[in-house]
Symmetry: C2
Subunit: 190 residues, 2 copies
């Protein structure tokens, strides 16, 4: 039996992505976003939504790019901090002792200590309501060598991304391997 | 040390969402999408991206709405099946024995057996490349009473949503509770 909970931004899972930008003077900043997702396979594109009041919003408007660094569970406090204070008054990377590295393909910094990184060039922006959606092309994915498997692909269990539950404002870890996609469902085919 | 993996739609986490629609004759259909996310807090909005060739695409264009039913891990085979065959030739819900229920706020069916449901009205659509992005307002969130906690809020550990790893085409379960958002990061504040 279903119970109606009303209008809410409540769904599972949502990501914990640390969005890296430079301001016009080259100062690196990072903010955490949970509103986003992959939005196109070709061109490979990812979307994030930000409020206009965010310091990172202006940086993205000016530079036309950003990075997404995916934190491991052990950096959950750092990732949370990046979402609760503004870069206008804080040097968040310095404060947490993490290392900004200039992107190879875009003029935006990523976080060296985080295992998975996307370099993104903004193709479109779209005002939905209180949030502006950026649609960006993924120019490169980078992974830390420590999280690659024998075939050279990132292993999510080594990367240990964080899952955000917007209903309870709570972070979770990734669980166990369930099944192979495009395989397990075949049992229902004729 | 980071290794460049090139252009990929690879990021963690991505969702496993079963998108429910009716066709013009009222036949229910469901397809699984991993390209999507929350995109605005007000109006509460969620985005999914579909290829135009998908049977559900035409249904959404005609009806202007859809539901998102979030499957539990125990329905991973059903959810996978909904992503590998087309509703044009299959009655996917009948085949898997799951129950379509007409939405309360939109003319689209949700899946009774899945623990969390969003009813969504399309406000915008946007052609990015091979995928069309729908931006939809969340008119209602529904949760199964069996997954609510003592305070009446959905418990993600009871709902057991599935996490999709697009790098390895693999499904994962949700892991353990880590930390409270907007709290754990305060330790870095002055």
């Amino acid at each position: 039996m279903k119970k109606s909970l009303g209008v809410k931004t409540l769904v599972y899972p949502t990501p914990v992505w640390c969005v890296g930008t430079y301001n016009s003077e080259g100062k690196p900043n990072v903010m955490t976003a949970a509103w986003g997702g992959i939005c196109c396979s070709k061109p490979a594109s990812v979307t994030i939504s930000l409020r206009k009041s965010r310091y990172s919003y202006q940086n993205i408007i000016e530079s036309g790019c950003y990075t997404i660094s995916v934190p491991s569970a052990k950096y959950v406090a750092e990732a949370d901090y990046y979402g609760i204070v503004s870069g206008s008054e804080n040097n968040k990377l310095e404060k947490t002792g993490l290392t900004p590295v200039k992107g190879e393909f875009v003029d935006a910094p990523y976080i060296e200590e985080f295992p998975l990184v996307l370099e993104c060039k903004v193709n479109h922006s779209f005002e939905i309501g209180v949030h502006i959606q950026f649609i960006a092309e993924i120019l490169d994915v980078k992974a830390d060598e420590s999280v690659l498997d024998e075939s050279g692909r990132p292993d999510i269990l080594k990367a240990q991304p964080i899952i955000y539950d917007p209903g309870e404002s709570q972070y979770y870890s990734i669980g166990q391997k369930l099944e192979k996609a495009f395989v397990v469902g075949k049992k229902f085919k004729d």
